[in-house]
Symmetry: D2
Subunit: 386 residues, 4 copies
Amino acid sequence: MATGVWLAGGRGSVAVTSIVGAAAIRAGLADPTGCVTELEQLRSPALPALGDLVFGGHDPATTRLCKKAEALAAAGVVPARLVEAVRDELAAVEPEIRPVPVAATQLESAALIAEDIAAFRFRHSLERVVVVNVSSTEAAPAPHPAHADADALRQALGEPGAVLPPSSLYAYAAFVSGCSYIDFTPSTGARLPALDALAHRHAVPYAGHDGKTGETLVKSVLAPMFAMRNLRVRTWSGTNLLGGGDGANLADPGANAAKATSKQRVLGETLGYEPQGNTRIEYVDDIGDFKTAWDLITFSGFLGTSMRMEFTWHGCDSALAAPLVLDLARLTAAAHRSGRSGPLTELAFFFKDPLGGAPGPAGGVPHALAEQWAMLASFVRGLADA
Amino acid sequence: MATGVWLAGGRGSVAVTSIVGAAAIRAGLADPTGCVTELEQLRSPALPALGDLVFGGHDPATTRLCKKAEALAAAGVVPARLVEAVRDELAAVEPEIRPVPVAATQLESAALIAEDIAAFRFRHSLERVVVVNVSSTEAAPAPHPAHADADALRQALGEPGAVLPPSSLYAYAAFVSGCSYIDFTPSTGARLPALDALAHRHAVPYAGHDGKTGETLVKSVLAPMFAMRNLRVRTWSGTNLLGGGDGANLADPGANAAKATSKQRVLGETLGYEPQGNTRIEYVDDIGDFKTAWDLITFSGFLGTSMRMEFTWHGCDSALAAPLVLDLARLTAAAHRSGRSGPLTELAFFFKDPLGGAPGPAGGVPHALAEQWAMLASFVRGLADA
Amino acid sequence: MATGVWLAGGRGSVAVTSIVGAAAIRAGLADPTGCVTELEQLRSPALPALGDLVFGGHDPATTRLCKKAEALAAAGVVPARLVEAVRDELAAVEPEIRPVPVAATQLESAALIAEDIAAFRFRHSLERVVVVNVSSTEAAPAPHPAHADADALRQALGEPGAVLPPSSLYAYAAFVSGCSYIDFTPSTGARLPALDALAHRHAVPYAGHDGKTGETLVKSVLAPMFAMRNLRVRTWSGTNLLGGGDGANLADPGANAAKATSKQRVLGETLGYEPQGNTRIEYVDDIGDFKTAWDLITFSGFLGTSMRMEFTWHGCDSALAAPLVLDLARLTAAAHRSGRSGPLTELAFFFKDPLGGAPGPAGGVPHALAEQWAMLASFVRGLADA
Amino acid sequence: MATGVWLAGGRGSVAVTSIVGAAAIRAGLADPTGCVTELEQLRSPALPALGDLVFGGHDPATTRLCKKAEALAAAGVVPARLVEAVRDELAAVEPEIRPVPVAATQLESAALIAEDIAAFRFRHSLERVVVVNVSSTEAAPAPHPAHADADALRQALGEPGAVLPPSSLYAYAAFVSGCSYIDFTPSTGARLPALDALAHRHAVPYAGHDGKTGETLVKSVLAPMFAMRNLRVRTWSGTNLLGGGDGANLADPGANAAKATSKQRVLGETLGYEPQGNTRIEYVDDIGDFKTAWDLITFSGFLGTSMRMEFTWHGCDSALAAPLVLDLARLTAAAHRSGRSGPLTELAFFFKDPLGGAPGPAGGVPHALAEQWAMLASFVRGLADA
Ligand SMILES: NC(=O)c1ccc[n+]([C@@H]2O[C@H](COP(=O)([O-])OP(=O)(O)OC[C@H]3O[C@@H](n4cnc5c(N)ncnc54)[C@H](O)[C@@H]3O)[C@@H](O)[C@H]2O)c1
Ligand SMILES: NC(=O)c1ccc[n+]([C@@H]2O[C@H](COP(=O)([O-])OP(=O)(O)OC[C@H]3O[C@@H](n4cnc5c(N)ncnc54)[C@H](O)[C@@H]3O)[C@@H](O)[C@H]2O)c1
Ligand SMILES: NC(=O)c1ccc[n+]([C@@H]2O[C@H](COP(=O)([O-])OP(=O)(O)OC[C@H]3O[C@@H](n4cnc5c(N)ncnc54)[C@H](O)[C@@H]3O)[C@@H](O)[C@H]2O)c1
Ligand SMILES: NC(=O)c1ccc[n+]([C@@H]2O[C@H](COP(=O)([O-])OP(=O)(O)OC[C@H]3O[C@@H](n4cnc5c(N)ncnc54)[C@H](O)[C@@H]3O)[C@@H](O)[C@H]2O)c1
Ligand code: NA
Ligand code: NA
């Protein structure tokens, strides 16, 4: 089941950690800690093996993969000895991470992206390719009428000017190439009616949005705890300090806003009301890849008694994200193989801002981690049965 | 469905907070925050209403209920205005909390306990009575051969000397009186083969052990989070600072050990291995009823990267416990009514050290809060159907 | 030594906590915890006694003092029993807190302020009056040429329009009335060359700026610790969550900026360089008067090893501020009596943003708490000798 | 001013970090962050230069220095590149760290220790030698009458059996060899009347006890802060989680008790009363050399209002200790040179449990860091003048 993983943002921290890790696990040098599809309850022959994954991608950056991997080792994200050990594998992937094609119109750019993916697929005799967006977070794009309709979109892309943000152009290129698509970022990605229609038309599935790796992961178990105990959350205020490439990018107000919105959704949808307080992201260069998040939660209990909880999370973002990228690639490829198309709402477990509406009588996607887990487990069982 | 709640430890903090709260909610002066049986998903006509509960109990202490309630108000556990408002109800309960009967043999003591309960039941025309142990935590008792067999136990109780710790004597008296029994403490309670046999013989259910109100509650959602994400917890070390009556009692090494054991069980059983680190309880008079717990968790993720999380929980123990006592009384009474007898393993949601074996292929009781919740919800639905 | 304390903002939290506290201590119902002039090392006959203080002031709010005091008691800032006990004293102060005079020109407004103070002084046969600004934080005013010169200022005030922000108008009125002035807020107050000249001309002292009560207090001992140990602070990032009247006011970006600037000065001036990171103030209504601040400090030590410290401060702002207001009034009155005029840089111990330049070869005011304390102690000794 | 630094425990973490660091700084590969004698305010020509220090010592362990240094690099205590760079210097020190001599009586052992030191001194033409105890913490020894008198001690040492714990035997050997002595540990060291007499007799100075590197350092600035503000500390409860060699050793109850006592002294002596709460040390292997300490402080302010502060300290113990060992060696050697003998109470800045009595009217040693700093600075100035 040779499966291509085409990484938009292939020279970034998450991408390179994923590539190093997959190679190290394949070589038996590391165990698959952090990969949920390697848990006994989720392991399935329906998924391509970790060893079946072949990496390629696009990135405007030109840092060589082994240089980036060394930088990640220096920052404590991956062990230096593993980087040494997989040097050959990184050299093999090196030419597969290509510059971002730029043409006169976005339609031509998309065509060049599709060509790169097709050549990659042919070169490695891949059964299928999953396009994964792990590129820098974008600001929300200006609305455009062509976002609503697949044919209007094609038309508009053919004219000069930017109709789609990069994340969505990758989704467009993926769909028209018959590839599934995952958005690991808070960017727009496939979340436009025109793109959703296109995914259905080309019978490919897609997943997203925004990998859930730190503070929001904790929220997705603590908020249900308060709800299950009928305790009233009054304030939930969070501060995220982070450096690294993603941190620098999030210092931009537009990107920051996109991210902060992703991060708060879990509260309203799990609790059924909005507590006071915001989530803030602050860029602190010195913090590097190890994010520190602090959250204060005040709540009232029986007869109104005030109580409080606070937590500090000190996690390595890329190390938390990378195994999920591998999981998502395997799950989405298997879903594609089994004939699924359109949004994979069952993968909510992985995302801060999962595809699918708010939970309610008419369905919707749960935000409590345990419910998301149950949904994921049944999804995996369904793949095996298919 | 007038239902008696007979509180062993009826003048303690948990007991009095429960009595004040039930009265205040009944009077429409407070909403039932903290009561899980008042959540939409669990509300059921099979349960006695909060207004159906009638309180009595035993306690060697002689502090009047209204004095204790005022002390709780001064400590910020309950609002002073509510204590004022339910003064008459407290006065009505006052004579129902009786001194602990002491006789020449434990058998005679048990008979006197049973008489007190019977008189209470008759006085208030109660449909049934639930005995709830909220008395001071005991040290583990010395083993005794009569603990293994109901008939040998009766025999041994008739001789001078202490065969059972107080918590178990209350269970004995409850069962022979046809009453159900809940142990909200880490004490032995009904956890002896002889008492289990007796519960079945008298067709009454029982529940326990040790109300889950603070640090362990948080553990029961965070430990599954790490497990679901295939992250390896390396250290989990906790410090609990608490004052109040329970804190003073736990300063005793025997009681402390019983409690600390209760509190760690969730980790091993949820993670499948024992992380390093202990849970410590320290008595600090000045902290009073507002416990502060601090936990440090170190874990490793993808490729072995080390990360950490810490949390501080600042909760009012009695305010967290009291609504659960009301919930448990209602659920246990309804289970009794529906014909259940023996251990109510479905109530694991409420306990640090729930009845039922470790989870495994042969069943066992889950320690993850979300699974316990699902079990509880189906239990409540089952009651309604019965 | 009957001494008037004229509070601009006399119906606010800090003011009313000060009034209640002074009355309670005078009546022997509370001890002077939090008052530094009551420490053995600083007690001095040169200071007016706590019992010598008489309160009056201006405030546009009309809430009665006893209502405000009850609200403070409900919020846990002051004990309810003390509010009960000093009801008569509050009633006596009630008419002394007067509406803010507004006239056609600021000069006329200042004249009315001066009249109110003069009448207060006469009514109570006060030896002298200290004007203390504890009113809402203002945004920084637009620069005006008349700020540079006392005579130009008087001229400009006589014309319509606002030349001075309220805090500075109080300073103007104080100085021309022969009263000393303290700015407990980050507002402009007396920090204008024209006002400094006026203080010298009328031979009155002044003090400020911005009472140091929480996170900045902790910074003023931790930053010197890092400096004395030759450890390099890399990041210092703070989050302050606060509610209450002051919190609501600080939600205004202008006021927030004034405050955040005050709060960071200690770092640069103690360490000799600016670490990364900011201080943020977030308004969270539910937090009320009990501010929660969280600070993360990362630092490097021997051979560059990275380490970190974090702290959470959960303090009641008004309870921390009020005793300092009493201290400052006593100290400033004594300084006035002893013949001091102009800025009292020796009172830096009390302020986030103390009067006086950065420390350097040419002098300047220290930001390390221990040095500020030594300066304060010698100031007090000096008063006694005078 | 070639100066010998003879390390009892020369193959331990603190010792090897000191040796690596001194070599790296000498070679211009690292700056002297963490060394307080390199601060502008304390730099003095009276001190031997860092480059003047020559290392030797005793240790029963046989791990080679470069292996230990590599282990420290792997644990993140020192940078791997520095260990590489100073490999030759480590090889040069290697033969100077000798096995601990053991003979029939302690007197003969002391003679062998003294011989090793003398040979080291001769080999390197050292002007003087400072013996520094950085060996494992001992339990408190049994009292012995000979501890009180220098001559009785010599007599008793000549008989079989252990009269002195190892730390004190090193002090004995140091003093009779005319060497100064520093105890960086909580062990007994020179704190016996007989040894003090001996130091005076041989005209050598000594310093101690127990390097102040983490939680106690923070206490020594926070406790004075509360005192200076007249705030009443009610609870101060600390938890220290640590691994590494020292952590394993402190898991022993005797050693743990010695350390915990050192750590609390600052509170009583700075505040003037003992707050509630204890300090606990827990060994957690996984934590390694990066200790995590959590402290909760509750305090009351004006009118009794309750407030709280908590802090987490995440420091690398050996990296904090090593520069202080270098500072102490330089300061003690200079003191010796200037003619000082007996206890160097002016070095309290460096110690948890400094030599010298409680502060009081009759003098005594301060525990507030800023006062200790002032004392240290004047001590250094005094050396220069001498
Ligand atoms: N690390 C996490 O825990 C985590 C969690 C959730 C989401 N994310 C998201 O994943 C993304 C990647 O994070 P990262 O830490 O690897 O960031 P990074 O800055 O290290 O990498 C982003 C890469 O994208 C490249 N890029 C920029 N524009 C591009 C374009 N138009 N086409 C292709 N590549 C482009 C950049 O050159 C860079 O190499 C971010 O959007 C981040 O928000 C990360
Ligand atoms: N508060 C919580 O969050 C919580 C959570 C779990 C378990 N618990 C357990 O609940 C129990 C009660 O806690 P609390 O805070 O109310 O303690 P408490 O000390 O305020 O009350 C205990 C009461 O039990 C009484 N008592 C002692 N021996 C007795 C006996 N033989 N028979 C009857 N009464 C007796 C005491 O006189 C006292 O009034 C404790 O065992 C505690 O461990 C409490
Ligand atoms: N509480 C603290 O720890 C602390 C510390 C440092 C500084 N401060 C400063 O002290 C001030 C008061 O704080 P607070 O918590 O009492 O706030 P508050 O909002 O409770 O009180 C401010 C009072 O000022 C009044 N006011 C507004 N404009 C006025 C004017 N022009 N003239 C006179 N009064 C006016 C308001 O009506 C209000 O009653 C704020 O500026 C705050 O930043 C407080
Ligand atoms: N690291 C810190 O921050 C810090 C702070 C204060 C005090 N200390 C103290 O410094 C000492 C050393 O700490 P460490 O982390 O280097 O510990 P470590 O365990 O790494 O080193 C101690 C060394 O002492 C050796 N040793 C044991 N018995 C000996 C003896 N009789 N003679 C000579 N050597 C002997 C051991 O073999 C070991 O190599 C401990 O007592 C510790 O409590 C350390
Ligand atoms: Na904290
Ligand atoms: Na913390």
